[in-house]
């Protein structure tokens, strides 16, 4: 199947911006991906958005789990208690 996308077929920037995550996840049909690639080749604004999303993903990746969620010492001690009881009851313990 060939899909002939005319050069003046106008994909609005609003739509490109909404599809950036689908684009980065490679979740688009090949024809849609091609249309976005063509749009990006001519559109500086959308290219900036794509770059900034990529940078955002990498920057979020600098976070560590402990920046967001800390294991509180009480829970940790409770779980170690669970583990000790389990280990003591284990056959052959």
């Amino acid at each position: 199947m060939t899909q002939d996308v005319p050069a003046d077929d106008d994909l609005p920037c609003t739509q490109v911006v909404m599809l950036i995550t689908d684009y980065l996840d490679d979740a688009l049909a090949p024809a849609d991906r091609d249309r976005i690639d063509e749009h990006l080749a001519d559109c500086d604004g959308c290219t900036v958005v794509l770059d900034q999303f990529r940078t955002t993903v990498r920057t979020t990746g600098m976070l560590q789990t402990e920046d967001l969620d800390r294991l509180d010492p009480g829970t940790r001690d409770d779980l170690l208690g669970v583990f000790r009881r389990w280990a003591a009851e284990r056959p052959g313990a």
């Binding site: 609005p12 909404m18 990746g61």
Partner: protein, 214 residues
């Protein structure tokens, strides 16, 4: 923290090695809490789900065959525990609905684009300005990290869970969708909204010195 291979960790747990258990808890517990929040609402119920999961993990450790990763196996146990509790409490799954759409276009106000009567409807009138500073550069890294951490913390629960699993913990889209019991498409919608807000926070931070956010 020593990240030993799964087989070595499982072997240590079977031997009753408490330090190995403490490391696994340290590594998985926050992630398990995040996923549990997709199924039950109260903090108390989340705590119960995760605690029951660890008990089930220990009881089942001799059956773990290493055909999946330890993480995948532990998460599948959590999902079963969480689902049965959610059914008992007759709850709807909180992540199943996407919630109201956000204003604007991925964080860009509608005034940034030409209206339907413009020469090129939906195209930029005020395109974004490229960032001149690299937020990952070492001089900025500490500050950037706290900006991003705050932006992530301020997100609605479902968006926070998805962006954390995807962009911090490095899960794939299908893994996140399966663990949260949502479609891959909805997973991407939540991820896109979350990234849009973090991008906006970074933009405000990086362009603060220039007097305007792009």
């Amino acid at each position: 923290m020593v990240l030993a291979g799964d087989a070595a960790v499982v072997e240590a747990l079977r031997r009753g090695d408490e330090r190995a258990f403490a490391e696994v808890v340290e590594r998985f517990h926050p992630m398990l809490r995040r996923i549990a929040r997709g199924y039950v609402r109260t903090d108390e119920a989340v705590g119960d789900v995760v605690q029951e999961t660890w008990i089930a993990v220990l009881r089942g450790i001799d059956r773990f065959e290493g055909r999946s990763s330890l993480r995948t196996w532990v998460v599948s146990i959590l999902v079963n525990v969480a689902r049965s509790l959610a059914v008992k409490e007759a709850r709807t799954v909180p992540f199943a609905s996407l919630g109201p759409a956000d204003d604007g276009v991925a964080g860009f106000g509608p005034e940034r684009f030409q209206g339907p009567d413009g020469e090129y409807p939906g195209h930029w009138t005020t395109p974004p300005t490229p960032w001149t500073e690299d937020p990952e550069a070492s001089a900025l890294a500490g500050e950037t990290r706290s900006v991003v951490a705050q932006a992530v913390a301020a997100l609605p629960e479902s968006q926070r869970t998805v962006i954390t699993l995807r962009d911090v913990d490095g899960w794939t889209g299908p893994e996140v969708a399966a663990a949260l019991g949502i479609s891959e498409g909805n997973q991407r919608v939540l991820l896109h909204r979350a990234r849009a807000k973090v991008r906006l926070a970074l933009d405000a931070h990086l362009t603060a010195g220039e007097g305007r956010a792009s």
